[in-house]
Symmetry: C2
Subunit: 533 residues, 2 copies
């Protein structure tokens, strides 16, 4: 049963089982719907508190990494229960801090607890660690074969930066935290300044779960900090062995640089920008242009366009059906009400981007809804731009991400133009193809280009909505992410916080349980080249 | 059947199926046993040739990455056959260029062809790519579940830097080349200037195999180049997507920096230095000190100490049994004949290191064999140094790698000193423990420290000799390697040249065979959370 968590917020960092101090210049969250400050103030972690959290995590690593998969699973499930017990308190605070509607917050809470329970299963099952055993052949000629066994082991303390656009699923107890804890890594979360109250509530849920399941102090800490000093101190701390981040390209690349320049460079998993090209092939547009326009409109405006997988660029052939499609999409986007964005920084970046597109050469502004109600500076309005393949290819700024409900339609005439536009994209989280069977045959060259560019290819659907399941890949080549080998969603994500260790001729009692002859946890493993369990 | 490869060397780069040009200032290999130049001269690749190799690799990627696992397996097996067909020609040339004895070259050739055949099996089997299928649930509430399938796919063209110390197994057709080709990546090898003739012979074997198995031009190229310009041009070329390197810390970190500063940063797998600490616990020394001394002597002097896994530092308790052990080890090292090292650069770095140790505070030189026969500047002589834990902890230079047959013995008195010395090590390829059951119980705190520091833990044996098998891990935290998540030996190595791609709601005919419903290749995959094949 969940323990009682006091619902009044204290505004202090959580450093292991202790609270941070009341440091100078605390900051309150802002309600983006009206620009008002929300109580209480949140105190930035001091450099001593950063040091303390890192040292506690380092010390916790030894015992936490030795916990069994089943013990880690209980901890993750306890976190999920504690978060659910927060109920309305969490929903209301998150809504107030982000401007996101109730349904979205409740859904995202469910996704977050679902992820925690999924990673609990993964930890309990243990096969994520890829145990392998090759037994000895003492009489092999010319040399004896030793006994070698290996598996993925947790990498060490992990720093997770909470994302502005997912106050729960990519924040304090989000995907990176769940997968790092499941792997056996202590986690230090740097809260996002947009939703510190949500962070504190969730962090206290984690803290309660850690106590209730007898986890070592330091297995989790939450630090508040405006500006970049707390984050930089964490990423450069010698005790920290990996970093998870979801946010801007500027933020992500700054962390990559810090991590690469350390005495011991460490991996950074930064999910950054993506325009998620959507290729709408002519047969599909001719067959069902109206329904594609409706689907694209929903996907482009979902959550005020504030998703990493938001479809930012659509490729449409210059023909009559394409014109009709554009007209229909434009009509829907024009009729879309402006909505509150997450915070003033995001709203202002989006407005700047819309203005930049509007004044770009060769770009036609088809929709640019103006907000005149004076109620808030934080409203995001749908925008649609149209350009030709040649203009798009001539100006790299046209392929930059517009984080918000803005879509650029690129019109092409020849197949070669379509392929050239696809080839021009940098790494992306997703690439989407709408087509008929004939389209896919005729434009077959598009697929291998997309495969080189993206982490996930979507057919006849839309990129928003990332299913949390074993096969999901939410990643992609740079600059979509810092490390295109990995994913931040789905069970594969656990491997990002692990590294291989081999044990040669080890006594049985010194091996991790997953590698012992008697396989006490019943894990599926590769034994002398064959899967067995 | 292997095709005929002309055995006379041309000294030109191999760019796809073509030969490079005769550029100015060609360089001959040096016979380290006598310092003489060996014919013919080798011509540095021009910048146009680098460009051409990269473009061919980029173009080859599309078709090569689409070859089936079985087709890639045939290519790898053909390479192994072609290398075997080189026979004595290859053995003699490699011996002359490296000073390594015949048995070693023949053994290393066998390891190289064995690796190629092992990766052929891995490619044919296909389970390395971790195919996962989660089927759709169209009527799921509140949202339908899409069909999602994912697997590891090749990352793109790979550049491999040949290693000085393994002219075959870590060079032109070595582990990185085999695993990259098995994954579906074209490879460009930068030859090592110490053994260009060996490189050319092996590269022509690969070229023949590529023609014989109808692989696309550009699937493989070999480039010669003195200095760093060819290597730098390759690592910074936009077509290149990953780098494998085995060599010095200076070389590896320079490549890491170049790769991190690219417009699109790419992964670098650099295997660099390691002192491979060997912990000789008191019970083991008391029980079988003499046999441990004999084993350590063999391991420390094998291949004139020119192995990445050479045991550079041994930790021995200050007690009578420890003294006897050191005396026995010293006697064996003193009696070891000097041997030809790989090249003058390595010999000179080793000599400098020996001198540095000899003049270090708190270090006693127990063995420093002098070479006076004047026959060559390239002889490496065994050296043994002894120091105390406190002196070792006070001077970080004492833990630097001495690449050659030099071993430093660190004497400790208290368990706390032993643990402090272990804690002081940076990342290592290996850590070795010799102990009795009682030792392992009494010094149990040593193991978790080693687990944080190394890629492979060896019990009651020695670190040299890296078994090529599914469970092997030849890697370790920085600075042993640039990326402690990976291994350069064993079948896990194939994943370093791959990244995850997901396909959502894909038509069956557009999926890679490994992800199709009918599983035509019979690969083991995770289907809705369960392993199946």
């Amino acid at each position: 049963m969940p323990t009682d968590i006091p619902t009044s917020l204290l505004g202090r960092s959580l450093i292991g089982f202790k609270e941070g101090s009341d440091t100078p210049d605390p900051k309150r969250a802002i309600d983006p719907s009206n620009g008002n400050e929300i109580e209480p103030p949140f105190f930035n972690a001091s450099s001593e508190e950063v040091e303390s959290a890192a040292t506690l995590a380092k010390n916790a690593f030894q015992s936490y990494s030795g916990k069994s998969g089943a013990e880690r699973a209980e901890f993750l499930e306890a976190i999920a229960n504690e978060i659910e017990a927060l109920g309305e308190t969490l929903t209301q605070r998150a809504m107030q801090e982000t401007g996101l509607p109730e349904g979205r917050i409740i859904g995202e809470t469910g996704r977050t607890t679902g992820q925690l329970r999924l990673f609990a299963q993964v930890a309990r099952d243990g096969s994520w660690s890829q145990p392998r055993i090759d037994t000895a052949i003492p009489d092999r000629e010319p040399l004896p074969k030793p006994d070698v066994r290996s598996m993925l082991r947790p990498v060490g303390p992990v720093v997770v930066f909470a994302a502005s656009n997912f106050p729960l699923a990519f924040s304090t107890a989000g995907g990176d935290t769940a997968s790092a804890l499941a792997a056996g890594c202590p986690v230090i979360v740097k809260a996002h300044s947009s939703h510190p109250g949500t962070a504190e509530l969730v962090a206290r849920a984690i803290q309660s779960a850690a106590r209730a399941t007898s986890m070592p102090e330091g297995v989790f800490s939450l630090l508040f900090g405006g500006g970049r000093s707390v984050g930089s101190a964490l990423v450069t701390h010698p005790a920290v062995k990996a970093v998870g981040f979801t946010g801007s390209t500027a933020g992500g690349t700054a962390l990559m640089k810090l991590a690469a320049e350390r005495k011991e460079p460490i991996p950074v998993y930064a999910e950054m920008g993506s325009v998620n090209p959507v290729v709408l092939l002519p047969g599909a547009i001719a067959d069902r242009g109206e329904s594609i326009a409706a689907g694209l409109h929903v996907s482009a405006t979902l959550g005020v366009g504030q998703f990493c997988t938001n479809p930012g660029v659509a490729l449409v052939k210059k023909d009559d059906a394409g014109d009709a499609f554009v007209a229909s999409f434009v009509e829907k986007m024009k009729a879309t009400a402006s909505q509150v964005m997450l915070n003033a920084t995001i709203q202002s970046a989006y407005s700047d981007g819309v203005q930049r597109m509007d004044s770009s050469q060769g770009v036609r502004t088809l929709v640019s809804n103006t907000v005149n109600d004076g109620s808030s500076g934080c409203l995001g309005s749908a925008a649609v731009f149209e350009t030709d393949a040649s203009a798009f290819l001539a100006d790299a700024t046209l392929s930059e991400e517009l984080f918000g409900p803005g879509t650029t339609i690129v019109r092409w005439s020849e197949t070669s133009e379509l392929l050239a536009v696809l080839e021009s994209f940098e790494g992306q989280l997703t690439g989407t193809l709408h087509g008929t069977e004939d389209d896919f045959a005729q434009y077959g060259d598009a697929l291998p280009i997309l495969e080189r560019k993206v982490g996930r290819i979507v057919y006849n659907a839309f990129p928003t909505g990332v299913e949390v399941c074993p096969s999901m890949v939410h990643g992609g080549p740079y600059p979509a992410t810092s490390d295109g080998r990995s994913t931040s969603v789905g069970t594969h994500a656990i491997t990002r916080f692990a590294r291989l260790i081999a044990y040669q001729d080890s006594p049985q009692n010194l091996l991790p349980p997953e590698l012992r002859d008697d396989n006490p946890t019943g894990v599926t493993r590769l034994e002398n080249g064959k899967f067995a369990s």
